[in-house]
């Protein structure tokens, strides 16, 4: 196909449109896949504890957690970086996915809870005799995994349909997503809602009847998370290079022109918005078994804004940038909160101001600019 496409281009003197991933890109991708699949497991499981090369369980858990965040940042990039719609509600979709997985993990505890009952501890505490209706499928792993995709997806679809149909844009859209997340947080804080109130879910014992805390289980979760991140990255890379992806960018640049070209932006915005929400839901489901807790604080205003910060720091509309941003900000957070616990929020604020002032295109944009400058000097 490519040969057919390039020849008339060459004839008419038009250069070939950019390709999905260059040879360098594929090499970097293989390196990332290799380190997730081989390097980390070997360094963690096979290299002995005392060795300098040993990767601690803590480090594996941290990287695993950050990879979940990176999926969120990638989802944010599709909707914000490429389509120009800033969502502050992605924390909600993340949490919904997390709760979907958490419900299953709560049922897997079985009678090993502190009350030794069939029901999860918090239900016994509330004196409930049976599980509420929305826990109907909670014992089935497959059913809960379907819910992890369907619930955030359906919510995003319905919300997006009405918001985009009413042509709500810009800061108004951001504020409504924020409000929706806040409302959901208040709902989940209530004990009567049946999601463990402000304590949420924790103290998980097993997943698929396998002890969740044992190193091999953690490593499998880690590898699945890494592969999901790489898979989503490839999918996003493919998508933004289709005509669909270019229409998204056109919507970001001049939505009026898109409409007067005959496109209905509703379908485009709604599909990328729903996809983005589903990605966050899956990230949440991968996050919970690795971190071991899910509670309504994941829906706080701050967590939604943080996702946007990762994307902005790394570089919007670059796909790789938000992933780098998620690693950079969360890596810094992890180190800062150990070294100077009181100053983390100040640092985060300063970081965001500095990036906005000096790196408007984020880390990736800054590096690109630097490389271009060097190339010009050499030339």
């Amino acid at each position: 196909m490519s040969a057919v496409m390039t020849s008339p281009l060459a004839l008419s003197g038009v250069a070939v449109p950019r390709s999905a991933l260059g040879p360098k890109g594929w090499t970097a991708l293989m390196a990332a896949a290799l380190s997730v699949l081989v390097l980390v497991p070997v360094l963690n499981l096979l290299v002995p504890d005392g060795s300098a090369l040993h990767l601690s369980d803590f480090a594996v858990a941290l990287i695993g957690k950050i990879m979940c965040y990176a999926i969120c940042a990638l989802a944010m990039d599709l909707i914000w970086g490429y389509t120009g719609i800033l969502s502050l509600g992605h924390g909600l979709f993340f949490a919904l996915g997390g709760y979907g997985m958490g419900m299953y993990l709560m049922r897997q505890i079985g009678r090993d809870g502190s009350y030794h009952a069939d029901l999860p501890d918090f239900m016994v505490f509330l004196d409930w005799k049976t599980v509420p209706w929305h826990w109907t499928f909670s014992e089935s792993f497959i059913a809960q995994m379907i819910l992890v995709v369907v619930v955030p997806g359906l919510l995003a679809f319905i919300f997006g349909f009405f918001a985009f149909r009413s042509r709500i844009k810009g800061v108004y859209f951001s504020i409504i997503t924020q409000a929706m997340t806040f409302a959901a947080m208040l709902l989940f804080f209530r004990n009567e809602t049946g999601f463990g109130g402000n304590n949420g879910f924790t103290d998980f014992k097993r997943i698929l009847n396998i002890p969740i805390a044992q190193p091999s289980t953690r490593m499998v979760l880690f590898v699945i998370t890494g592969m999901t991140l790489i898979g989503f990255y490839l999918m996003a890379r493919w998508l933004v290079n289709t005509k669909f992806g270019r229409v998204l960018q056109a919507i970001r640049d001049a939505e009026n022109r898109v409409m007067f070209c005959g496109y209905n932006p509703l379908a485009y915005k709604l599909s990328i918005w729903t996809l983005s929400a589903v990605m966050c839901g899956i990230a949440g489901a991968l996050y919970v078994p690795q971190v071991g807790i899910i509670n309504p604080s994941e829906m706080s205003a701050a967590s939604g804004i943080e996702i946007a910060i990762w994307a902005a720091v790394g570089g919007r509309a670059t796909l790789i940038g938000p992933i780098i941003g998620a690693f950079f900000v969360n890596g810094a957070k992890s180190w800062f909160t150990q070294a100077f616990p009181e100053f983390w929020l100040y640092f985060l604020g300063a970081l965001f101001i500095l990036v906005t002032l000096y790196l408007p295109d984020g880390i990736v944009g800054g590096v690109k600019k630097l490389l271009n400058k060097n190339a010009e000097v050499k030339a």
Partner: protein
């Protein structure tokens, strides 16, 4: 004459000629509804491509359009002039579905009611619009801008699996040549000069293959040479497309009306306070007392 009467007439005629009766077959009805009317199919059998009647629009009590009537013929090039606030842009907003009028009717051809359609549907049935401020997709390349405007299936799923065919590629190549941006094909559209952006936007309109082009101040910010070229481009489109050109630049209007197929016979419409003040050839309009009064404030 009603279809029933025509049917009876056909039957009588057939009987007289000794032909077998067509019976209940379409016979006479065929004569009355000879043209097949399909939804969204442009019907210009009556010679008119755009018909606005009694259109009124008001914003917070201010009458932007006041019983505006306008009739554009197929293949016509119509220039519209008028002082600021005369309602030129609002008129385009009504035609393209951006603004819903308070009263009046707007038809594309003789069958398509524009007031029942959304912006994207109106664009798809063949009305292209150039904005006053050049509006292109700044972050995309010139090539990609044209690719998105290219006539193709507009639905989201079709876009995911869209592949340029070699004919379409050739079309984009021809368009790049026509709008003098061939060397800039891979350049980011945001980096083009103001005049080049205007050209790109015109190119994007033409990629959609519209029947009717609405051009809002197409030569604003162009150099004299670019203006000259634009006039030539529009004159070459006349006939195959219908054009409505809104412009302040009288030199450009003069250029458009005194050359081409219908030189010196083209109609110019003057808008004032939301309705048509005068209509006629440029010379007629310029000699009109009312027009002189509005423009010079006498």
């Amino acid at each position: 004459m009603t279809p029933e009467l025509m049917e009876e007439g056909t039957a009588a005629l057939n009987k007289a000629k000794g032909l077998p009766s067509t019976g209940s077959e379409s016979g006479g009805r065929e004569a009355a509804y000879g043209r097949v009317i399909e939804p969204d199919q442009l019907d210009v059998a009556h010679g008119s491509i755009l018909y606005l009647d009694d259109i009124s629009v008001s914003f917070d009590g201010f009458k932007a359009l006041n019983k505006l009537c306008l009739n554009i013929a197929v293949g016509e090039m119509r220039c519209i002039i008028g002082p600021n606030g005369a309602g030129k842009t609002t008129m385009m907003d009504v035609i393209t579905g951006k603004t819903r009028p308070d009263a009046g009717t707007a038809f594309f051809g003789s069958t398509i009611d524009l007031l029942k359609k959304r912006e994207n549907e109106i664009a798809q049935i063949g009305i292209g619009r150039k904005f006053q401020k050049p509006t292109v997709f700044e972050q995309l390349s010139v090539f990609e801008n044209l690719e998105l405007a290219l006539k193709a299936d507009r639905r989201a799923r079709a876009s995911v699996f869209f592949k340029l065919s070699s004919e379409q590629l050739d079309r984009i190549g021809e368009m790049l040549k026509l709008i003098h941006l061939k060397d800039q094909a891979q350049r980011t559209a945001g980096l083009l000069s103001h005049g080049q952006k205007q050209w790109l936007e015109i190119g994007m309109l033409l990629m959609q293959d519209p029947k009717l082009l609405l051009l809002d101040e197409p030569v604003a910010g162009m150099t004299d040479e670019e203006t000259e070229r634009t006039a030539e481009l529009f004159l070459s489109l006349e006939g195959a497309h219908s054009l409505v050109v809104v412009e302040h630049d009288m030199k450009f209007i003069n250029e458009l009306t005194t050359r081409g197929a219908n030189a010196n016979r083209k109609r110019v419409t003057v808008l004032h306070e939301g309705s048509v003040l005068a209509e006629g050839t440029l010379a007629d309009v310029q000699a009109n007392d009312k027009v002189v009064e509005v423009y010079l404030g006498r």
